[in-house]
Amino acid sequence: MLNQHKRPGESLDGGQAAGLLATMWRIRLFEERVGQLARSGDIDGLVHLSIGQEGVAAAVCSQLRDDDHVYSGHRAHGHAIAKGASLERVMAELMGRDTGLCRGLGGSMHLVDVEHGFMGATGVVGGTVPIALGSALAARLRGTDAVAVVFFGDGAVQAGHFNETINLATLWRLPLVLVCENNGFAEFTPRSAHTVVERVSDVVAPYGLERSTVDGNDVPAVWDAFGSYLASARSGAGPFLLECLTHRVRGHYEGDPGRYRDSMAEAEWKEKDPILRLERHGMAAGWYGEDELRTIGEAAAAAVEDAVRFGLESPFPPSALLEAAVYADG
């Protein structure tokens, strides 16, 4: 493939870009469907959607292996799917079914898929940041080149445990890549109401770790920046912080009236949408044409409908499941 629009350091090729588009469409269409199912009552619990932020999940997770541990927070559907979780099992989990990733016990905020190294998500902002450092410590002690990655929002950065983790990660030089999805809002509050430090990458500056801020909707830029940190982490360096500036299209949670901000104009969003941008970028580069893009989108849509059917046809978990799930038998 020709990289006609290759920028300095850009390493993404056409095949990889098509793969990223497939992942992003799967996340986008999955979450749009989740929003509908939440409104119709087929998904009963609390859900937070990441529509608009898919580029970060795809560009980061698609470069990882199953033995790289990934952690996330309450907005984790995209991270789990990008790390390899099946759409069927994520959808079934959101519907509280026995066939769900966590057999219906975790739900939207607590997806875990050990098989693919998606080790956990928490409903407590930043709660998995120190836990991810423990996975990085384990990788170091084992002597493997596996890394740990944690996704968090800009709201987590003002929490004490974030600072504690940065301190220890840099002190112990562990292979952790911290990926901040800075969408400008900590739940319902703009960043400017929480802190005088605009950039998360500046917050950690005194610790001297390698860090950068990129446009999180520019997928090739996220791919490059993360890929470079990943290669260094695999060779024993770390930690790293990648701040991705992005945009959350939906509210904090499904049902959020969103009175705290103005919606982005449709024309502006079409310019910024990470999926449409990567489609335009790849078409200009000659990586794919409209037919290929249509095929990618249709495959994602079909997979999402299969997942909805799978979830709706699945049974709810038996109460006997709880006993085995609360305690592990030594």
Binding site: H69, Y71, G100, L101, C102, R103, G104, L105, G106, H110, V112, D113, V114, M119, G120, T122, V124, G127, T128, V129, P130, I131, A132, L133, G134, S135, A136, L137, A138, A139, L141, A148, G160, H161, E164, T165, N167, L168, L171, W172, P317, L321, L322, A324, A325, V326, Y327, A328, D329, G330
Partner: protein
């Protein structure tokens, strides 16, 4: 064969033996492993034995992550109250992961912390917060009262596949006891009958087991034979042994260093009232700490705590005017 050790040394011996036995056991905390010639560092190296900053949330969070990745960390927290600054990790992360993942993962960590240091340490280093942890599904909670149990319960805690809060009572730190040599495991969920008796059941935990035993000695002089039970672990809690004892004695006195509504004794009282009511010949009496922040001044500190006199008086009140059984 056994050897004599202080309670605190018995705990350390168990950690050392488990680290020798299993390379996945890690040990870290504040103010430890700061020099190369500390015994644990010499034996196991600075990869497995680590000093941490004063960052309880990160310390415990790292333990959770390392455990998810296959290690068995023991976190030295020194004071149970220091866990309060990390309660998200202790209560809402570590014990929730297994349940929330539908049983996919296990989190074998031990949170080692002293408690109840009512020896002039005033309001923030003396609390008995044990009951705070016992109602959290997924957590196990250990409260040894002897050197032997301290060793055996620590070994079991390290081998357990669940998060364990290991609470050693600071007032027992230098109490000596016979400790079995070599590998020694005490099972969780099995109470120990520390003294047999037929007139009244006294249940204590940690330091209050000693108060119960001292009171029982005095009561024996009055012809009252008290049975003293030490649950040893409060999650799981061996209510069966307590109910069987109450069925025999018909009377129950509960002794707890904690404040009344935050005590293990209140939980036990509820269980016995519900499941052993037919055995009771008199109402249950609880001897707990008074509802006060532990005062610094020594006489006032003693005033708020249970002591031998209060336990003796409680037993006399429970037995009331009932004829005392001949010894």
């Amino acid at each position: 064969m056994a050897h004599e050790l202080p309670y605190i040394a018995a705990i350390i011996e168990a950690i050392q033996l488990e680290m020798e036995r299993d390379e996945s056991v890690l040990y870290f905390g504040q103010n430890m492993a700061t020099t190369e010639n500390e015994p644990f560092v010499e034996a196991f190296g600075k990869d497995r034995v680590r000093v941490t900053p004063i960052s309880e949330t990160a310390e415990i969070g790292i333990a959770v992550g390392a455990a998810l990745a296959g290690y068995r960390p023991v976190v030295e927290l020194y004071m149970a109250e220091f866990m309060l600054v990390a309660m998200d990790q202790v209560i809402n992360e570590a014990p929730r992961f297994r349940g929330m993942s539908g049983g996919q993962v296990k989190v074998p960590i031990v949170l080692k912390a002293g408690y109840g240091f009512t020896a002039g340490w005033a309001g923030q280093h003396t609390g008995t917060l044990n009951a705070l942890f016992m109602g959290v599904p997924g957590l196990k909670v250990v409260v040894p009262s002897t050197a032997a149990d301290a060793k055996g319960l620590m070994a079991t805690a390290i081998r357990d596949d669940n998060p364990v809060v290991y609470l050693h009572n600071y007032l027992l730190t230098l109490d000596h006891g016979d400790v079995p040599d070599g590998e020694y495991l005490v099972p969780f969920g099995e109470a120990s009958v520390r003294r047999e008796g037929s007139d009244v059941t006294i249940v204590g935990t940690g330091w209050t087991v000693d108060r119960a035993l001292a009171a029982a000695d005095r009561l024996a002089g009055e012809g009252i034979e008290a049975e003293v039970i030490d649950p040893r672990t409060i999650a799981p809690l061996d209510t069966q042994t307590i109910l069987e004892s109450v069925d025999k004695t018909g009377h129950l006195v509960l002794v707890d260093q904690a404040t009344r509504h935050a005590s293990v004794s209140t939980v036990i009282a509820g269980e016995v009232a519900e499941f052993g009511f037919g055995s009771l010949k008199a109402p249950i009496v609880q001897v707990t700490g008074l509802d006060a922040t532990i005062p610094y001044s020594e006489p006032l500190e003693a005033y708020v705590l249970p002591d031998d006199d209060k336990v003796v008086a409680a037993v006399q009140s429970v037995l009331g005017t009932a004829p005392v059984t001949a010894a």
